[in-house]
């Protein structure tokens, strides 16, 4: 992706150093990051720190144009990343109550998602949203959905037996089941084009609010740390378990607004796919993992609760802006 604009001191220095070539000095980045973490009101909504973390994680995905690939494993950069991650995880653990299963983990997951009653953006789209608001939502979804499923795939080599088999079964479907044109990220790219939006990764990197990066960073944090393999599994379960009904509402809203099949296809596909994935993720994946590794059962539930909380904050935040007639973006779409 193109390197986005800085959002504060940390990203200003980070972007300058990354684009200066391999092994540029980083001392000032570490000091500035430490100061920014100490000064931040809330790491979970901090534009500068969340974008910085996103850019460092992006080196492990598609990379940044004009930035040397060797930065991915530069220990000095990893040390800065670790400082932000530590505060990020601590903030998450303060903001999200740790759920505990009274009987079994899959039953607890179903109870968690049933009890989740945050403000629903999908219901708003179904009945009230304007076409411009839908375009803003799609733009906010690009950061994750153009690489849909990728952060959960980090968990594959860290699981075994039934849990691994279930995760691969879900991911194979996410990746089109052998049909490249049915890759979910590819279907979403077609939806973007159908809605008159740019489908290149990062095209709206300067537009989206910090909470979009927080949501993406949550998945990367869980996915890239083997220690948190339970949490990435729980995150996937919660994500899949809260997808099919909202996607139906999205599809209905998009049809109400006159968007074509090329745009609704993505949401129609997820109504059917995620009704399957929900069962596989809660039972065969999360349930098996909790049976096989009971010591990480609470991590599975924490990952699920964090998904619901952080994504609830993101999408609920968009709805709040729309309800008062404001844009959810930092600058208007072109």
């Amino acid at each position: 992706m193109d390197v986005p604009s800085a959002r504060g001191e940390v990203t200003e220095i980070l972007i300058a150093r990354l684009t200066a070539g391999e092994r540029a000095p980083l001392d000032d980045l570490a000091a500035t990051t430490t100061a920014a973490l100490a000064a931040s009101d809330d790491v979970l909504t901090d534009d500068d720190l969340q974008l910085a973390l996103f850019l460092m994680y992006e080196l492990h995905y598609g990379g940044l144009d004009g930035v040397a690939d060797t930065w991915e494993w530069d220990p000095r950069l990893l040390a800065v990343r670790e400082r932000i991650e530590r505060e990020f995880e601590a903030a998450l653990r303060r903001a999200v109550s740790q759920p505990r299963a009274t009987r079994d983990v899959s039953e607890a997951l179903f109870a968690l998602v049933t009890d989740d009653d945050g403000p629903s953006l999908s219901a708003f789209v179904e009945r009230d949203a304007t076409a411009e608001q839908v375009r803003e939502i799609l733009a906010c979804r690009t950061i994750y959905t153009l690489k849909e499923a990728d952060p959960h795939s980090w968990a594959i080599p860290r699981l075994h037996g039934r849990a691994k088999s279930a995760l691969v079964e879900i991911q194979a479907d996410e990746y089109g089941g052998g049909r490249p044109e049915r890759l979910h990220a590819t279907i979403f790219a077609a939806a973007l084009r159908g809605a008159g939006l740019d489908d290149r990764y990062g095209a709206y990197a300067d537009h989206v609010p910090a909470t979009v990066y927080t949501s993406m960073n949550l998945m990367s944090l869980f996915g890239l740390h083997r220690r948190l393999r339970g949490a990435i599994v729980g995150h996937l379960a919660a994500y899949e378990m809260t997808s099919s009904l909202p996607c139906r509402a999205y599809a209905t809203g998009l049809r109400r607004l006159g968007f074509g099949d090329d745009v609704t296809d993505y949401f129609d596909e997820h109504v059917e796919a995620d009704a399957v994935h929900e069962q596989l993720a809660a039972r065969d994946l999360a349930g098996s993992l909790a049976d096989d590794e009971p010591e990480i059962a609470n991590d599975i539930l924490f990952g699920a609760a964090a998904c619901l909380a952080i994504d609830g904050r993101l999408w609920g935040g968009l709805r709040e802006r729309f309800e008062v007639g404001e844009s959810a973006l930092r600058k208007p779409l072109p």
Binding site: R94, A95, V96, S97, Q98, P99, R100, A101, T102, R103, E107, A108, F110, A111, L112, T114, D115, G118, P119, E169, A172, D173, G177, S244, L245, R248, E269, V271, E272, A273, D274, A275, V276, E278, Q279, L280, R283, L301, A305, A309, G312, R313, G316
Partner: protein
């Protein structure tokens, strides 16, 4: 490929309070006897009757409170402090 997959008989797994998960190759026909092609290798058949995309499940079983077993009398999950609503309440 197909020789390998046909070596495994199709299986149907029932999900508590939810759909039937179908794996393996089998032919599926609708009320009119027309063949229905699932869009994926593993698919979910609605058994609550409420799905809008029958014969497949669309998650509606949760909306209608479909139960295959009597509901348990005690909560399935408890929370450590802080209360679960603190984040959304902000």
């Amino acid at each position: 490929m197909s020789a390998a997959s046909s070596a495994h008989p199709a299986s149907i797994t029932s999900c508590p309070d939810g759909p039937l998960i179908v794996r393996g190759e089998l032919a599926l026909f609708d009320d009119q006897g027309e063949a229905v092609m699932p869009n994926r290798r593993t698919f979910a058949l609605c058994r609550c009757g409420a799905s809008a995309i029958r014969p497949f499940c669309d998650g509606s079983h949760k909306l209608v409170g479909f139960r295959t077993t009597p509901p348990p009398r005690t909560a399935a999950v408890t929370f450590d402090e802080p209360a679960p609503s603190t984040l959304n309440a902000e």
